[in-house]
């Protein structure tokens, strides 16, 4: 930054504003809560189970509160704040135990860490609990990389993959960096960049049904650039994107598929399921 700019600014803005600091990570805890997310719960439960296995492999005891459901994001992004708030409150109640919460989906983790405070902006007491949840919430790959500091041996056959990162996960949780770094530790995995990699797959929750024409054009472009990589498969750490991309591939009668990153990682490190 040229000094000129800051010197040119009047008093209130004379000083270079502080940049947000990197998140500080705690030591590896003994136990965590897994928040499965509603999409994984119903459509990709194996990915949730693989997340549990990956955590257990690091010697962590995993709790799965039976009362959990959805983070509230679908209603929140559609404009139904009141409904979203009540669902969010229910999750807050069961995640209050004070131990880390690991989420196998960047956008849901982002909901906890960025948007709960907007939902409860007018409830100071709840806001305190939200702050605690914010500090304890980790996206799965972030947790494995930064908190568990995993050291893996790749037990799988050589493979080539493309990585898709959900937009909110990328912008709110830096998930793309964490996933890339984790995949980089796997010796037999070659990650291939795809065209317009950082561009949205077109899901956007209810956007996909409110604007099916535009959303459809976006997911078509995304699936084409994924397939153009010649990779064996696509991996992603977000259930919504996965449902969108796989549903579109299936509709197009393509054999190429995406898989949840948790399942891919578990297969690589456990050697299970490798063909």
């Amino acid at each position: 930054m040229s000094e000129l700019f800051y010197d040119a600014a009047p008093n209130a803005t004379r000083v270079a504003p502080p940049r947000p600091t990197e998140r500080e990570y705690p030591d590896k805890p003994e136990e965590v809560i897994l928040f499965g997310t509603c999409v994984v719960d119903l459509f990709f439960p194996e990915a949730g189970l693989d997340a549990i296995r990956l955590l257990e492999r690091e010697g962590i005891r995993v709790h799965f509160p039976e009362a959990q459901s959805c983070c509230g994001q679908p209603a929140w992004t559609t404009g139904y704040a009141r409904e979203a708030r009540e669902v969010a409150r229910a999750q807050l109640d069961i995640l209050d135990a004070g131990i880390p919460v690991v989420v196998p989906s960047g956008s849901c983790a982002g909901m906890f860490r960025q948007h709960y405070r907007e939902l409860f902006a007018e409830e100071p007491d709840t806001l305190k609990r939200v702050e605690s949840l914010e500090a304890r919430t980790f996206e799965l790959t972030e947790f494995l990389l930064k908190v568990c500091k995993v050291q893996w041996q790749d037990a799988g056959q050589p493979t080539r993959i493309a990585l898709h990162t959900s937009c909110s996960a990328r912008r709110e949780m830096n998930t793309h960096l964490h996933a890339r770094e984790l995949l980089g530790t796997l010796g037999n995995v070659e990650r291939i960049n795809h065209d317009h990699e950082s561009e949205c797959c077109g899901f956007g929750g209810t956007f996909s049904v409110r604007m099916p024409e535009v959303s459809g054009a976006m997911v078509k472009d995304k699936t084409r650039s994924l397939m153009d990589t010649g990779a064996d498969e696509m991996v992603t750490a977000d259930g919504g994107c996965l449902m969108n991309i796989n549903g579109s591939l299936d509709k197009q009668k393509q054999s190429f598929r995406g898989r949840h990153l948790a399942s891919f990682l578990w297969e690589r490190v456990s050697g299970e399921g490798a063909v």
């Binding site: 549990i52 404009g79 409904e83 669902v87 995640l95 561009e199």
Partner: protein, 485 residues
């Protein structure tokens, strides 16, 4: 230029227009090529991430400070401009703004107007208003000139004719101006230039926009690359500047970082070819410049956004167009799909305040909330947050009193009921588990057609067993399935 159908008479919906645009391969290629290039230019203009983020934060604070004292700054601007000899006019609506402009031209018995690029004049539909009153308005910005020739509206706030490639422009010039068809860009520009040069000398009035109105000195700052802005504001005997009330900043020091943010974010330029700073009409001892300078300050719904602490951030905008260039929706549907003057993310958040949500009911929904816009905004407008808030105002019932002009355009009792059911399901663990059990147990009964979703996807079929089920089994061995409750 009054053969064009005014935007205000559009009867199609966003989705209908999007469908048409998506089917136009040429259009999609034109936009993709142009936007890819603009994204690269911006990236190249900010090689240092720390510098960029520091500057964006600074830009945000400068605009926030200006807005926090907006009424005072506007009064100061008026006082200083008046002292400099510039006549200041206030317009609450576009109709009032047009009347003011018309009366100034009428007082000079003017018949010809030459315009530098101005989005506010587009907002006013000034060309049509004046044409109906026998006054010819000629656009002098090359892009604006092209869309005016083709009776179109701009499809981008910085590059009005970006939806056309050079072959299409060549054909247009050939058809409309009777010149030989040439694909040579320099030759095309020369053709336009020859027509326009003459007009600058003939025009009675020059109209321009304003990029920054500086309160402390009473200065109007205008950036441009073609020299047409300087010609429009200096050659004709009268100069009328039109701008929105949010363009005022406190002092010249504020302009330095904002200008850098503007030109680098827009076209990746360190600075524009021309930076005009207009402070007064021609003084007695000066040889050139206009005899009269006027500023029309337009509200047109901006004070509505200003009144709301959250939505006020919309007025930070310095009209660089970076959000548009980075938008995955805009790049596919193009600017005309938005049906209003301002397209893309900024259009989605500012237009509702101007024309009301009833007129643009789909604007808040036409986003996947991917966040690319907010990430590049040079003054850090949280655009996804603005969209999200507009969605809330758009689904409110009349009784709930939407806080945005003509809010509640998407209110639906049926949809509200669906979300209430969703809420009940997700706040009652027993019901939720019953739902999981039913959905997995009867997964084969999932309908293959689930509305708009199955236009692009096969229907999602629930897994055989839910994660609740799998986790309970897996964890029961070590007795840790309890947690929380």
């Amino acid at each position: 230029m009054n053969q064009r159908i005014p935007v205000t008479e559009l009867t199609s919906t966003f989705r209908e227009r999007a469908t048409g645009a998506l089917a136009d391969q040429q259009l999609r290629t034109n936009f993709r090529t142009a936007m890819d290039s603009l994204m690269q230019k911006r990236a190249d203009a900010f090689p240092d991430e720390d510098e960029r983020e520091g500057l964006r934060e600074l830009g945000n604070r400068i605009k926030a400070r200006a807005l926090s004292q907006l009424p005072d700054l506007l009064e100061q601007l008026e006082a200083n401009l008046t002292a400099n000899g510039v006549k200041v006019h206030w317009a609450e609506t576009t109709e009032e703004a047009n009347q003011i402009v018309h009366s100034i031209i009428e007082a000079r018995q003017g018949t010809q107007v030459v315009k530098g690029k101005s989005m506010v004049s587009e907002e006013m539909e000034m060309n049509e208003y004046l044409a109906d009153r026998g006054i010819e308005c000629l656009e002098s910005d090359m892009g604006e000139y092209i869309v005016q020739l083709d009776h179109e509206k701009p499809s981008h706030i910085i590059m009005p004719a970006i939806h056309k490639n050079r072959h299409q422009v060549a054909r247009l010039f050939h058809d409309k101006l009777g010149v030989d068809e040439t694909d040579d860009v320099d030759e095309l520009i020369q053709i336009g230039r020859r027509t326009l040069r003459r007009k600058f000398l003939e025009a009675d009035v020059g109209v321009s926009g304003v990029n920054f109105a500086i309160a402390e000195t009473g200065t109007l700052l205008l950036v441009e690359n073609e020299g047409n802005g300087r010609m429009s504001t200096t050659a004709p005997p009268v100069h009328i500047a039109v701008t929105g009330i949010e363009k005022v900043v406190q002092n010249l020091r504020d302009v330095v970082p904002l200008l850098s943010l503007l030109t680098r974010s827009a076209l990746g330029q360190p600075i524009t070819t021309y930076v005009n700073m207009i402070s007064s009409p021609r003084k007695p001892d000066e040889l050139d410049g206009p005899e009269e300078v006027h500023l029309v300050l337009l509200d047109n719904g901006r004070s509505g956004a200003f009144a709301d602490a959250q939505l006020r951030q919309t007025l930070n905008c310095i009209r660089c167009g970076a959000c548009i260039n980075h938008c995955p929706v805009y790049v596919r549907v193009g600017g005309h799909t938005y049906g209003e003057v301002y397209p893309g993310p900024i259009g989605k958040i500012i237009t509702p305040h101007m024309v009301g949500l009833q007129k643009v009911p789909d604007h808040p929904s036409a986003s996947s909330l991917c966040g690319a816009c907010g990430e590049v905004c040079p003054v850090k407008i949280p655009i996804p947050e603005m969209l999200q808030r507009l969605r809330q105002e758009n689904v409110k019932s009349p009784a709930e009193g939407p806080k945005v002009k003509d809010g509640g355009a998407k209110y639906s009792a049926k949809e509200r009921l669906i979300w209430r059911v969703w809420k009940t399901l997700n706040t009652s663990p027993a019901l939720y588990r019953l739902f999981l059990w039913g959905a997995t147990r009867f997964r084969k009964l999932t309908p293959s057609n689930v509305g708009p979703w199955t236009e692009n996807h096969t229907a999602p079929v629930p897994a055989r067993r839910s994660l609740h089920d799998l986790a309970r089994n897996h964890l029961s061995g070590n007795g840790s399935a309890k947690g929380g409750q």
